[in-house]
Symmetry: C2
Subunit: 168 residues, 2 copies
């Protein structure tokens, strides 16, 4: 959609626009996660990024399923928010000299992406229900649960090991 | 800090860098919130943005207090993530023709900013504790609680009223 073209006239339009936005975001994350895995030193963190990469590929497919269920074309629109989150992750990672500190920075970066997705899927699910599309809401809810679980795993890994090592 | 200059050598450096990043983000939000308030139609949402603007100004002051407590200069660094989140909020808002739908979009946009801050303050508090700066952690925790409370209020407002009106 173009800038300031006032293309969003209904909640359904907003729902479809947000689907297109998160579809772009998930695709960008399938490119960012392998890079984050390659930068991580802690084996559990490295594996965590790779596991979430597989989940993210599944999230892309689920979004394609929701587009089809809702009878609209599969399409992505630019998402400056996820671009900014990934750019900041790259910049900060590029500035960290110590490997243990880098792991702590990578977790922080990944959690920014997770929380961005948690907000967007939360809104999408609420809007789908309001539009009577509980079928779409159910599919989106599976992804939301995986994003929340990943965020919790990252917090646990930071608190149990990574922050301790980074500060030593 | 410059790109790829490897200026972050310790967890303390990462903590200070993140303080500078969120200091920039909070400042940008003090500029974005009045605009969001002016775009909102629902009086409760409009007032909510204005109340959070006052809290955000306080968050800026608290960060200045933490910089001083920690003995480092008050400084901001660019934060592409919050720039992207605000840019996306502006773009989406500019595309919405219907006032009730715009309120739903504004809540979604504001929650992306809140969650970005929730992640960053969460990491800052964990790192401060790891560095033995429980005094800094206590100050930062006050802000984190306010960000979480704002996020919950926005969800409640969306679910109780705004989404219903947007879909009607």
């Amino acid at each position: 959609m173009g800038l300031f073209t006032k293309d969003i006239k209904t909640m359904n339009d907003l729902f479809v626009h947000q689907l297109q936005d998160i579809y772009y975001a998930e695709q960008q994350l399938t490119k960012a996660l392998p890079k984050m895995a390659s930068k991580a030193t802690d084996p559990q963190l490295k594996q965590g990024f790779l596991t979430h990469l597989e989940e993210t590929k599944q999230h892309v497919k689920r979004l394609e399923e929701v587009f089809k269920m809702h009878g609209v074309a599969v399409k992505a629109v630019d998402c400056p928010a996820i671009d900014g989150i990934i750019e900041e992750a790259d910049e900060t990672a590029g500035e960290v000299a110590d490997k243990a500190v880098l792991d702590a920075a990578l977790i922080n970066a990944a959690q920014a992406a997770e929380h961005y997705e948690i907000v967007r899927y939360g809104s999408l699910i609420a809007w789908a229900k309001q539009l009577g599309r509980t079928d779409c809401a159910s599919v989106l809810a599976k992804t939301l649960e995986e994003e929340k679980a990943t965020d919790k795993k990252l917090t646990a890994l930071a608190e149990s090991k990574v922050n301790l090592r980074a500060a030593s």
